[in-house]
Structures are given as structure tokens and as C-alpha cells.
């Protein structure tokens, strides 16, 4: 019964569209102004339709785009580190200014495939292994700071300690020229960290940026890590400063693995 009503309605709609299209065709072929207007409307309509389909296509290509961006991010990071190294050399060695050394770090983009965040000893697993050039004793960074360090590597995966791990500390510096100390996770919050052992003579203001110091062999210098907050004096000798990290650990997916090419050479000096 219902289909008997629907079919004539569909036919009416089809004929309506057909007659309107025929009218527009006649209008278009008999008046220049209307032809321009109709063409403009059709182009506008097509632009909207194709724009929408392109947006849908782009949505389904997000995975590939993210990978491309991760590659590009790693490349940019490498260039940034080269620039920083050049700047550092220019500051410290005027005699050799103009000679830019390599940063000494290999950068490999990777994706986090598993990550724990709810324990005191968190870890993460990356989708790259030694076949991709990943080595043990490498650092993991993003543009927002330090994420962790590689502990073990298989052919296609790497196991790493997260910075949100009670056993991990990294060498960090307060401001561009400030004191250096150890940055550790506060063990409580996702973005909270503590910068320890800052000598009292180094003055700072809450809001100062905390960077990697470069004293560690794992991480390049001058990576912004977070913002300094309140402090307290420990045993009358050093400052302990609260740090609000830039890195949101709940939103990590693409990272860069950095490995110091001089790691083994420098390690030989250490008894």
C-alpha cells in the first residue's frame, strides 16, 4: 500500500527535476546573463560538493598525513638542533665561528604503539627497532619535550622507560644560562616534575623556561621542557623547583628517537 504511494511521488520528483533542468537549459541557451549566472551557480555547487568530498578523503588520509608530518617534524628538529649548535658555537668560540659542526645526533621518527601511564614505573613501546636504526641508550623527544629513553630494542620494536618513571632523571637547565639540575617526574600528576639540586646562587623567576642541559649523552641541549613554578630550599644548600611540563603525556603518538653518535666514544672516557 505504502509503496503504491511512494512510487508516484518519486516519479513526480524525478519529472520535477527533469523539467527544471530543461528550463534552466533553455534559459541558459537563450540569455547570456542567465547563462553566466547558471554557470556560476553550478561552479559554486560543484566547488562545495568537491570540497566536501575532498574533506572526507582527507579525513581518511589522516594516518598517512600524520606519518608524513612526523617525518617532517624529525627533519625540522634536526635542522633546529643544527642551528642551535651553530649558535652555541658562535657564542662560545668566536675564533671558529662560521664552522658548523654536526649536532652529533641521529633522529628517527617513530610511533608509540603502547604506553603505560598509571604506575610509578611507566614504559612505552615504539614501532621501530634495530632494523630501523634504533639503538639502546637513545632518547625519545617531541617538540614539547622529553618523553623517555630507549632501554631495549628488537628488530621492529623498541622498549623505553617513560619520563613518568620514578627511576628516570634527566639533566636540565633553568633558563638559557641558569643552573643545572636533575629533572624528575613528581610521581603524582601528568605534567608535574621537580627540578632538583639547583644551587642557591642561581636566581630565577617563576615562569622561566626549563631546557635540557646537554650534559646528558641521551638528549640534545636546549629542548624546552616546561615552566618553572614554586621552589623550596633543601637542607639550606639547593633549590628544588616545581616544573609544569609542556609535554602532555596523555596525547603522545608520534615521537622522535634521538641517538648521540658519539655516545660510545664518550662513554669510554667514563670509568
Amino acid at each position: 500500500m505504502r509503496s503504491r504511494k511512494v512510487l508516484p511521488r518519486l516519479i513526480s520528483i524525478a519529472i520535477f527535476i527533469l523539467l527544471e533542468v530543461a528550463s534552466l537549459q533553455l534559459l541558459s541557451s537563450n540569455a547570456d546573463l542567465q547563462r553566466l549566472w547558471i554557470n556560476k551557480s553550478i561552479h559554486g555547487f560543484m566547488g562545495t560538493v568537491w570540497g566536501s568530498t575532498q574533506r572526507v578523503q582527507n579525513f581518511f588520509r589522516l594516518g598517512a598525513t600524520n606519518k608524513e608530518l612526523a617525518q617532517e617534524n624529525a627533519q625540522l628538529l634536526k635542522e633546529l638542533m643544527t642551528a642551535r649548535e651553530a649558535l652555541r658555537q658562535a657564542r662560545t668560540d668566536t675564533m671558529r665561528s662560521g664552522v658548523v659542526r654536526d649536532t652529533g645526533f641521529v633522529i628517527i621518527p617513530a610511533e608509540v604503539v603502547k604506553m603505560s601511564r598509571n604506575t610509578q614505573h611507566n614504559y612505552l613501546i615504539l614501532n621501530r627497532g634495530y632494523e630501523d636504526g634504533i639503538q639502546e641508550k637513545s632518547g625519545i623527544i617531541t617538540r614539547n619535550g622529553v618523553v623517555g629513553m630507549i632501554d631495549a630494542v628488537s628488530a621492529h620494536h623498541a622498549y623505553a622507560f617513560s619520563f613518568q618513571n620514578a627511576d628516570i632523571s634527566i639533566s636540565a637547565r633553568l633558563g638559557q644560562e641558569g643552573g643545572t639540575g636533575l629533572l624528575v617526574w613528581d610521581g603524582k600528576t601528568s605534567r608535574g616534575a621537580i627540578l632538583k639540586e639547583i644551587p642557591l646562587q642561581y636566581k630565577y623567576n617563576p615562569g622561566d623556561t626549563v631546557f635540557t642541559s646537554g650534559h646528558s649523552l641521551l638528549f640534545p641541549p636546549d629542548i624546552p621542557l616546561g615552566v618553572a613554578g614554586n621552589s623550596r630550599i633543601i637542607n639550606g644548600a639547593t633549590n628544588e623547583i616545581e616544573v609544569n611540563l609542556f609535554q602532555d603525556f596523555s596525547a603522545i603518538r608520534y615521537v622522535s628517537v634521538v641517538h648521540n653518535t658519539a655516545f660510545d666514544e664518550i662513554e669510554e672516557f667514563v670509568p
Binding site: 508516484p8 516519479i11 520535477f16 523539467l19 527544471e20 534552466l24 533553455l26 542567465q34 551557480s41
Partner: protein, 170 residues
């Protein structure tokens, strides 16, 4: 009135519309049309599909034989035929369809018929003025043209309703 009587009146009004389109161009703000009310009054027995074909042919005839642009009246009149049953059902209710009875001023009341005529004429004029302006006319001009044309066409349509409406055909 017999069915043939209606179609004869329809043809005569079509000729009247041809004359109006050719000679009644006093101001760009007013265009007078009887076509929407003619389509609205097509007997209920005639389905939407056939009504649309009649509307298309009527619009084309006026376009071709008067000084209009070919396709413009057809473009504006087909939507009136498409919406005809919807307007009738909205204003007069579904009983007319059950009884297969056409509306008239006498049976349905002046105001209901007036609203139906205004609705169908407004629909026609919206499409006509929009397509005629082709996006080049300012909104104010189109609005004034719409208002002036709606008032003039509705007034003239009431003269046409009388010969077209079934009661007056007796």
C-alpha cells in the same frame, strides 16, 4: 462545468497572459501573472506529474510567444504545479482529495482561496524574480519587485478565479 470548459478557459487565460506579458510592462517593479492561479486551479483529478507537464508547456508558450526569455516562466511555474497538492492540502484540508472535489470561493471561503492564491503566486514570483535578476539585482529591488508583483498578480488572479472555479462554472 464540463472538463473541456475548464481547458477552454485555461487556453483563453493563457492568451490573456500572453497579452499581459507583452503589453503590461509599465514599471520594472511590477510584473503581472495569471499563470500560478491557472495552475493552482487545474482540476484535482489531474495528478502532479501531468500538472507539471501542463505548467511547463504553458510557461514555454508564454516565454516563446511574448517578449520573455525562453525557459523563465517554465522554470518558475513547474514548482507551483509540484507544490499544488501540498498547498491545497495545507489550506483546504484532505477532504477535497477524498471527494475529488475542486475548491471554490463559494465552498471554501474567500480567505482560504486568497491564501492559496498568494502562496502559489509568491512561489512563482520568488523563482521568477530570482532567475530573472540572475544575481545582478540588489536585494531591495528584488524585494520591491516581489511585493509589487504579488499585490498586482493576486488582485488580477481573483478575476481569473471566478471563471476557473467549479462553482462559478455552473
Amino acid at each position: 462545468m464540463k472538463k473541456t470548459g475548464f481547458w477552454l478557459i485555461y487556453l483563453l487565460l493563457l492568451v490573456a497572459q500572453l497579452l499581459l506579458s507583452t503589453y503590461a510592462n509599465f514599471t520594472p517593479y511590477v510584473m503581472v501573472t495569471l499563470l500560478p492561479v491557472m495552475v493552482l486551479c487545474i482540476p484535482i483529478r489531474v495528478g502532479t506529474t501531468l500538472a507539471m507537464l501542463i505548467a511547463f508547456a504553458s510557461g514555454l508558450a508564454v516565454d516563446a510567444l511574448s517578449e520573455g526569455i525562453l525557459g523563465l516562466n517554465a522554470l518558475a511555474l513547474v514548482p507551483v504545479a509540484f507544490a499544488r497538492f501540498g498547498i491545497i492540502r495545507l489550506i483546504f484540508g484532505g477532504e477535497l482529495f477524498a471527494r475529488e472535489e475542486d475548491f471554490s470561493v463559494h465552498r471554501s471561503g474567500f480567505w482560504k482561496v486568497a491564501i492559496a492564491v498568494v502562496l502559489s503566486t509568491a512561489l512563482f514570483l520568488l523563482v521568477y524574480i530570482w532567475a530573472d535578476g540572475a544575481g545582478t539585482r540588489p536585494l531591495l529591488f528584488n524585494a520591491l519587485r516581489f511585493a509589487g508583483s504579488l499585490a498586482a498578480s493576486t488582485a488580477l488572479s481573483f478575476l481569473a478565479i471566478d471563471p476557473l472555479a467549479p462553482d462559478s462554472r455552473k
